[in-house]
């Protein structure tokens, strides 16, 4: 069902199955028929863990979205609220519970907090006089959700703001808990590297949690060789650049949510003979994007300028395959052709979709606005001054950006960017977009700082860039977690290391693409599994930092 999660070097299906089991256990606690009332935000992440069938097996008969007023009618014994611990949601829940019809059959209420219970929320429920109505109040620690064979995310939208603006480190605590879960399933990670204040905190929490762990030794053979913890505020620049990979551009333009994208439907209208023009769909076309789809896995991380040629090659291969039917003469040959048809048709469907998406993106990337924006960005990256103006309505937002380190008044102090750019080779003039030789292809020139740090850590090591590391914010460090001799790994010659790289505060698809590029290098020596608090892009990131009415 989620085969693509086991394609990578580390089988992330293990994690998925573990969290599915936990979900089943909770559902079984509430005996009898059930209805689930969903915090809508959670349906996306949960969709990556379980389908309705799993819930159905455990007597979930109805599902609703959490809304004010009265709950819809449902003839079930249990009503379970699946919610994030947020105060405003507690108010809605209380409204639901209080408007429950007392003449009807009595129903049992439960709450499942994801990923943590919160005293604050329970206090609110208590104040509203409904806390006692709930039989089970539990938490479901869905910290790290597997998105793809090499990708995990906490999908915690507020993590960056909380950590870097409010000074609330709860999401770091969750990250550390998530890492402990991973280690329980995949073995203790022998080496931890990190850069940044938050990275330091997470490492400290992990070490402390391990120390306080009083059970038996973890006896699982370690799958990961290294953990690299990176603060987003070590590299605030990269997310602001427009991603130029295929997946990155889809995200920049349409926004990918929990591996789904919603696209304007016009280009996807079914073109059947005879019914041209009528019944054009008006609802957005929703597509799932992950490496389960062969074609997508091949093109997602390419620079967009290299996507067209792949699509056209695929088109030829597929047409050639369909042409084969003329050559199929014998019954055996015909049979063989027919047996391949489903695969061919799936490939055709996939090609049709991505050709349409590529056309949509092309419309944007060839526009003057896009070009202008890119020019300004590249001028910024290479240090040319550009004027910008903002309205007064942004004063508070600008303050937030300044506090988070995104804006700095230029007060005569030394500007370190040129040094960093030069030492880390962040700007590459000769980029090969078709057959890349360097990670800078993901931004057509700019090499993401964060990924460059990971690359240099693996070879030749951070000692070579001590000076730059000191300029970048926060400490850099290394910790070892000793393993019993039986679990120590003897690497075969030529065997790659596996590094888990955790972006605290978010990561973009272009950075992920750059890491995948490094994983695939023949002599790279390191394969990466990527974890983050949130998959994001420049727009969603800044939006999260904007000040809106209470």
């Amino acid at each position: 069902m989620a085969a693509h999660l086991s394609y990578g070097r580390v089988n992330l299906n293990v994690l998925r199955e573990a969290v599915r089991r936990e979900l089943r256990e909770f559902l079984d606690k509430c005996a009898g028929s059930k209805a689930i009332v969903w915090d809508e935000y959670l349906t996306g992440p949960f969709g990556l863990i379980a389908q309705y069938s799993l819930l159905k097996e455990h007597e979930v008969e109805k599902m609703f979205t959490l809304k004010g007023n009265r709950l819809p009618a449902a003839d079930v014994k249990n009503i379970i609220f699946f919610v994030r611990p947020r105060l405003e949601l507690m108010d809605i829940i209380a409204e639901n519970v209080l408007s429950e019809d007392r003449r009807g059959p009595t129903r049992d209420f439960h709450i499942l907090f994801v990923p943590r219970r919160s005293l604050l929320c329970e206090q609110r429920l208590k104040d509203l006089g409904v806390l006692g109505s709930f039989i089970h109040r539990e938490e479901y620690s869905l910290d790290l959700i597997p998105f793809d064979g090499d990708l995990l995310s906490m999908e915690s939208e507020g993590a960056f703001k909380e950590c870097y603006l409010e000074g609330d480190q709860t999401s770091l605590y969750h990250a550390a808990k998530g890492l402990m879960t991973l280690q329980a399933l995949y073995g203790t990670i022998p080496q931890i590297f990190g850069k940044g204040e938050c990275a330091r905190q997470v490492a400290n929490m992990m070490i402390r949690m391990k120390r306080e762990f009083t059970g038996s030794q973890n006896s699982i053979f370690p799958v990961f060789d290294n953990l690299l913890l990176l603060d987003r505020n070590v590299d605030l620049l990269t997310p602001l650049a427009t991603q130029l990979t295929y997946e990155g551009l889809i995200d920049e333009i349409y926004g990918i949510q929990n591996s789904y994208v919603k696209l304007p439907p016009e280009k996807f209208a079914p073109k059947k003979q005879g019914d041209g023009g009528k019944d054009l769909p008006t609802e957005a076309k929703k597509l799932q994007l992950n490496s389960a789809e062969e074609l997508y896995a091949e093109i997602r991380d390419k620079n967009f300028n290299a996507v067209g040629s792949v699509l056209s090659k695929k088109a030829k291969i597929i047409s050639a395959a369909f042409e084969e039917r003329h050559n199929a003469k014998t019954v055996g040959e015909i049979k063989q052709f027919v047996s391949q048809l489903p695969h061919m048709q799936a490939a055709r469907g996939s090609l049709a979709n991505h050709t349409s998406i590529a056309e949509l993106i092309k419309d944007v990337t060839t526009s003057e606005d896009f070009f202008d924006k890119l020019t300004v960005e590249q001028e910024f990256m290479s240090g040319i001054d550009t004027d910008k103006t903002y309205g007064y309505e942004h004063i508070l937002t600008l303050h937030n950006l300044e506090k988070a380190g995104l804006l700095k008044p230029q007060t005569g102090g030394r500007n370190n960017y040129p040094t960093i750019r030069k030492t880390l080779r962040l700007w590459m003039d000769d980029v090969n977009e078709q057959n890349p030789t360097d990670i800078s292809y993901v931004y057509s020139g700019y090499a993401p700082l964060s990924v460059r740090l990971a690359q240099l850590l693996s070879r030749p090591g951070w000692r070579s860039i001590e000076e730059v590391l000191r300029i970048l914010p926060g400490p850099h460090f290394e910790e070892r977690q000793p393993l019993p001799t039986g679990l120590q790994k003897k690497r075969q010659p030529g065997e790659n290391r596996v590094t888990l790289i955790f972006f605290l505060g978010g990561v973009t698809f272009a950075e992920i693409a750059a890491l995948r590029f490094l994983s695939q290098l023949e002599d790279g020596g390191t394969e990466y599994v990527i974890a983050t608090t949130k998959l994001m892009n420049g727009t969603s990131w800044i939006e999260a930092l904007m000040e809106k009415p209470f």
Partner: protein, 491 residues
């Protein structure tokens, strides 16, 4: 494995997709067209009907059986159509994977605090809890150990967390000493949930002064309290706190932030007035003053224009009805609005562009860009002309554009200016290459031809001849030049 272009052409030319040419300069776009057409033509000979079977995706793309799909389905009637196959599938995939480690422990409550490095430091908490009914945890925690391949015992943070959530009254912590120690333990766990829980308790049981005083030396806890107060909207206590901490700028900003919640424009204006003079940073002070002035202006302009519009006597409002109110719009939008509706007004009126420029010290570049966009949109070419015309003291006129004439041309083109107008400004572009590029792009033939003539570039002129229409005036002009004996061509 790289196929050469030759291969490709051979393929396309030999196949039924002959219609393609590769003349298109935009190679990639043509590639997209190729695959699009290939895909479309495939539909002709492949039966489309079994699509659904293959993808099992509803039109909206939602996988059938996904959670959000099911919410819609089950919220309606009984949605029991799809589960059969799904059920089977999920059962199959459910293998004997390792389980998620669960808190499991057979320890008594007090022993959760084992392993603390400072013995006794937690005495008060464990004492306090020693009479809590330990049994209440038993059903959750008392799982047989053997059930877990990875046994991962609960650590004390979890317990602490649980105690706070479930049982706890923290009322046993009476002395300030105990309370502060409790807070420090919470902070050292980094779990905001726990820290906030303790803060709520302290907020309830300590006097404001003591709470503030103690938090002043505990920055992490202090940040959490500030975050918490913002979250629950306790503005009063938040302001008290900033006042106590002498964080005047934060105090000012926090006060200013409240304007976001005031919808009524007059009330908002009055509120902004109370912000002017608060201890912001020097830069911000000016901005806040401007913000107030701008809203004050907008209210006047809005009232006036709404009246004009509804009276229906003013041409500009009849021809171009306003799409939205100007209230709370950014300064640049306001300037655009005023250049659009009030361009000719004297400087003395609040709504005149020049007045706005002066009052808010709008830089020349910004002003010209905005005015140009507004006047071009109205196709008021004379105003555009005047915008770039300067007179010197002798009365000679000169064209000057602070933003560069290439930008002027782009903006005019975006507003569909006729070729004659475009041509005039393309000619003013100083850099010859830029001029040629723009002229070619926007088909200002005369400019292109004249420029090549001036450059004495016969070859380019000859090449350009193929780009103009046959028998057109432009072609004639080129021919005349090419046959002219007056010009000494460089090639």
């Amino acid at each position: 494995m790289n196929r050469t272009k030759g291969d490709e052409e051979e393929y396309w030319n030999s196949s039924k997709f002959k219609a393609f040419t590769f003349d298109d300069e935009d190679d990639e776009l043509s590639q997209l067209k190729e695959s699009k057409r290939a895909v479309n033509s495939l539909r002709d000979f492949v039966d489309d009907d079994d699509d659904d079977d293959l993808e099992r995706v509803s039109w909206s793309g939602e996988a059938v059986g996904s959670i959000s799909w099911s919410i819609r389905e089950t919220a309606g009637n009984s949605g029991s159509t799809h589960e059969g196959r799904e059920q089977l599938k999920s059962r199959n995939s459910f293998s004997s994977y390792a389980q998620l480690p669960k808190p499991t422990s057979t320890y008594s409550l007090s022993s959760f605090f084992r392993g603390r490095t400072r013995p006794g430091s937690f005495q008060s908490l464990s004492d306090a809890l020693s009479d809590t009914p330990a049994k209440s945890y038993a059903p959750e925690l008392g799982r047989p150990k053997g059930e877990y391949r990875v046994s991962y015992s609960i650590h004390w943070c979890d317990t602490f967390h649980m105690l706070l959530c479930q049982v706890c009254s923290l009322e046993r912590f009476r002395s300030l000493q105990d309370k502060l120690q409790l807070l420090e333990e919470a902070v050292s766990m980094h779990d905001g949930n726990v820290i906030t829980a303790v803060l709520i308790f302290l907020k309830r049981t300590l006097s404001k002064d003591i709470l503030f005083r103690e938090l002043e030396v505990r920055q992490v806890a202090l940040r959490h309290l500030i975050h918490f107060l913002k979250e629950i909207g306790d503005q009063k206590l938040l302001l008290d706190l900033f006042r106590f901490l002498d964080r005047t700028e934060e105090l000012a900003l926090s006060h200013y932030r409240e304007h976001l919640n005031i919808q009524d424009p007059d009330k908002r204006k009055e509120f902004l007035k109370t912000c002017v003079g608060l201890p912001f940073s020097a830069e911000d002070s000016a901005h806040i003053q401007d913000h107030y002035t701008l809203l004050e202006r907008q209210i006047i302009i809005e009232a006036n224009d709404r009246h004009l519009e509804s009276a229906g006597q003013t041409e500009i409002f009849r021809k171009h009805p306003r799409k939205a109110s100007i209230l709370n719009m950014p300064l640049v939008t306001t300037l655009f609005y005023s250049c659009f509706y009030h361009y000719t007004e004297a400087e003395g009126t609040f709504s005149s562009p020049v007045n706005l420029k002066k009052t808010f010290k709008i830089p020349d570049k910004q002003y010209v860009l905005t005015a140009l966009a507004a006047r071009a949109k109205l196709r008021a070419w004379n105003d555009v002309d005047a915008l770039f015309t300067t007179k010197n003291w002798l009365g000679y006129t000169k064209k000057r554009a602070p933003i560069g004439f290439h930008r002027v041309v782009e903006i005019l083109h975006k507003n569909n200016a006729p070729v004659q107008i475009l041509q005039e400004y393309v000619n003013l572009v100083e850099d010859v290459d830029t001029k040629l590029n723009l002229a070619t792009k926007f088909k200002c033939h005369d400019v292109v031809i004249d420029t090549y003539r001036d450059l004495k570039d016969r070859q380019q002129l000859l090449a350009y001849r193929s780009k103009v229409d046959k028998g057109s005036a432009e072609e004639e002009k080129i021919d005349a030049l090419l046959s002219s004996s007056q010009i000494r061509w460089k090639n």
